[in-house]
């Protein structure tokens, strides 16, 4: 066993502010479904294309929100980025370095990237006190036990839980909001640079949700963090994010500054999604749903643009051409033929001369 250190420092910035903290290129993850006469021995019957070639950059110090519905692949994406799963294809580059042989080791990577999950109870070991849970990771990474415990107490205080009162408690003795705070403290224990938040407030009551969101905002500025915030709640994403990425059936539909997109989305799916939010103004009620049918299954996605069977603006090119991410405004891109000059869609802008 190597010498145990007294404290863990945040790993310093490598590439400078202009370099994206996380760069994802062509990230793909397929799941094969078994079937046939001999179970797994035959060719797989079908493939679930959970994530099918997504690319984006995550800038230092920003909060990037990822939204989408069931089957869009946002949870799988979060696990791929967290290296909890190996991608079928594509690469992840963290601050200029790849993950794997020749770049960052998994252990080094995990020191810098941490995750908070939706189910606060299932994420905690029911047999460890919350203090022990938080102190666990630093000890794994070489910190002495005393130092790790001191750090745990510090973090409990930072998330608003009095260490003397809460440090010795077990997860089942805490409320949902308190448990989620513990999970956040645990994510901070290694002084990461990036925290992936996978629906962190979805299971909480509204008033508790507000408390946790405020806490996350405070911690971000206190500790210089970057957030990847995954949620199905469009309002929450709007409130916390700088930019938003919309996913549909395993691909990126739109990405750009959150205010721009919420004011006027370029992709018809994003527009429909935003339109689906129940209005807080009873005088302004809808009569027709913006989108009919259920979010489709990622097995056997439609050809061309995956949204075309449900799109109001569908035209023949949409079923044959896979739209690339086209520029729809400053720093704003959408995977729609209507935004791609010369794509053949009637709404597309003319090609530049």
């Amino acid at each position: 066993m190597t010498d145990r250190s007294d404290d863990l420092q945040q790993i310093p910035d490598v590439g400078g502010p202009a370099q994206p903290l996380l760069s994802v290129r062509g990230l793909t993850r397929h799941f094969a479904l078994k079937g046939g006469l001999f179970g797994g021995l035959g060719a797989p019957r079908a493939v679930v294309r959970a994530v099918d070639g997504i690319s984006f950059d995550l800038r230092k110090g920003e909060t990037l929100g990822i939204v989408g519905e069931s089957g869009c692949g946002k949870s799988t994406t979060s696990r791929l980025i967290m290296a909890l799963m190996r991608p079928t294809a594509g690469e992840i580059v963290f601050d200029g370095q790849t993950i794997g042989p020749g770049g960052l080791t998994l252990k080094e990577y995990r020191r810098q990237v941490q995750m908070v999950f939706q189910d606060s109870y299932a994420s905690l070991n029911p047999r460890l006190t919350v203090g022990d849970s938080i102190a666990f990771a630093p000890q794994v990474h070489g910190m002495a036990r005393q130092g790790a415990n001191a750090r745990a107490r510090e973090l409990l205080a930072a998330v608003g839980l009095e260490p003397n009162q809460f440090g010795g408690r077990y997860p089942h003795e805490l409320s949902g909001g308190q448990r989620q705070r513990v999970n956040i403290a645990r994510a901070l224990a290694l002084r990461p640079r990036l925290i992936i938040l996978d629906e962190p407030v979805s299971a909480l009551d509204k008033s508790v949700e507000a408390q946790v969101l405020n806490l996350l905002m405070d911690l971000k500025s206190d500790f210089g963090l970057t957030y990847l915030f995954i949620s199905h709640d469009l309002g929450v994403v709007h409130h916390v994010s700088d930019r938003v990425l919309v996913m549909y059936l395993g691909q990126v539909a739109e990405i750009g500054p959150v205010d721009r997109i919420y004011a006027g989305a370029a992709h018809p799916y994003t527009a429909a999604l935003l339109d689906s939010r129940p209005s807080m103004d009873p005088a302004n009620r809808r009569t027709e749903p913006p989108l009919t049918g259920d979010p489709p299954n990622p097995i056997d996605p439609p050809s061309g643009c995956r949204f075309h069977p449900r799109c109001r603006f569908m035209e023949p090119p949409c079923s044959t051409t896979v739209p690339p991410l086209a520029t729809a405004g400053p720093d704003h891109r959408a995977a729609c033929l209507m935004a791609l000059p010369g794509s053949g869609h009637s709404q597309a802008p003319a090609m530049a001369a």
Binding site: E69, S70, D205, K206, S207, A210, H232, V240, M280, P295
Partner: protein
């Protein structure tokens, strides 16, 4: 008897076990007119689901004590025996639940589950029941309805399952539909479809609806009236527009402030400090006082009565007359 579909007066529900008595509902009174939609808004522990189930006497029989007056569709539900209650459930009053995957029997087909309800309450033959089941699936806009009659719950997606559950609930044309957070587990685009479907069906079938939710947006989208519930009581009730534009009770204000909806980014959300009270030991006075920024000594001796600047919009807060004036200012 008035023309009201539901009349509840001073409803109390408590769960009595050897160790403790949990007072889940503490004096709820309201009326519901036919074709009206009431949203009961509250967080976990407020008693909203218990109230809803009490409207069908669906709470666990052994432990539950229900007191007060409750008339639904002309039937007295507090005095009724189990036999009468089981006749009423499914035919006069029906309920849909939050998670259709667990709320439907996993080993029976959808068609069977619809048929079963029809055969229980109406004197028709199996063929007629099957025909009506198909009609119902089409009514709730399930595509390929005929095929889906033979489908099992786990073979359908979340949105379709919820539609199937609605079909089952509506199979005997109930006068009152109770909905316990039916869209909470659904995706955004599906949620709005289901909400609109429910509104449409309500109009078509002439039903009253009582909807329990924690989401103010949902209330805004479908309610006629809203009742905000806290610690087993209605702390505010009123028409949806008035309540959301100008809430009277500090708790309602807190909920509105905490709900994310177009607040400027970077601005902290208003939070309600503290936690809901323990329902085993309710305070004598206003249950919200310990968490209320405006609390004063007069809040503590007794539960405030409902009062308001206009009939129909009232709140349990001693400051309400003042709030009414503040609103004008």
């Amino acid at each position: 008897m008035t023309g009201n579909l539901v009349e509840a007066r001073d409803l109390h529900v408590r769960f009595v076990t050897r160790d403790a008595t949990v007072r889940a509902v503490n004096g709820v009174s309201f009326d519901l007119a036919p074709r009206e939609t009431l949203c009961i808004l509250g967080e976990s522990g407020s008693g909203k689901s218990v109230t809803l189930r009490a409207l069908m006497r669906l709470n666990p029989a052994k432990r539950t004590v229900v007191e007060g007056r409750l008339r639904v569709g002309g039937h007295d539900l507090v005095a009724a025996k189990e036999r009468t209650l089981s006749d009423i459930r499914g035919s006069v009053v029906s309920m849909i639940f939050q998670e259709p995957m667990t709320a439907l029997d996993p080993v029976f087909t959808i068609g069977r589950q619809i048929r079963e309800t029809i055969l229980r309450h109406e004197a028709v033959g199996r063929a007629e029941a099957d025909r009506r089941a198909l009609e119902l699936l089409e009514l709730v806009q399930i595509p390929s309805a005929r095929r889906r009659l033979d489908a099992y719950p786990h073979e359908m997606s979340g949105g379709l399952r919820q539609r199937a559950m609605i079909a089952i609930a509506l199979s005997c044309r109930p006068k009152l539909l109770l909905a316990d957070e039916p869209t909470t587990a659904l995706d955004a685009t599906v949620q709005i479809q289901i909400l609109l479907l429910l509104k449409q069906l309500q109009a078509e079938l002439g039903m009253g609806m009582i909807f329990v939710t924690h989401d103010l947006g949902v209330a805004g989208e479908i309610a006629d009236r809203v009742a905000v519930m806290y610690a087993g009581r209605f702390v505010e009730e009123g028409p949806v527009g008035a309540l959301m534009r100008a809430p009277l009770h500090p708790y309602t204000r807190g909920l509105l402030g905490a709900t994310v909806h177009d607040q400027p980014r970077g601005q902290r959300l208003t939070t309600i400090p503290g936690a809901p009270p323990n329902l085993e030991h309710l305070p004598r006075g206003c249950a919200f006082a310990p968490r209320c920024a405006l609390a004063e000594a007069a809040c503590l001796p007794a539960v405030p009565t409902l009062r308001g600047p206009e009939p129909g919009h009232r709140a349990r807060c001693i400051r309400v007359q003042e709030c009414g004036l503040e609103r004008a200012a």
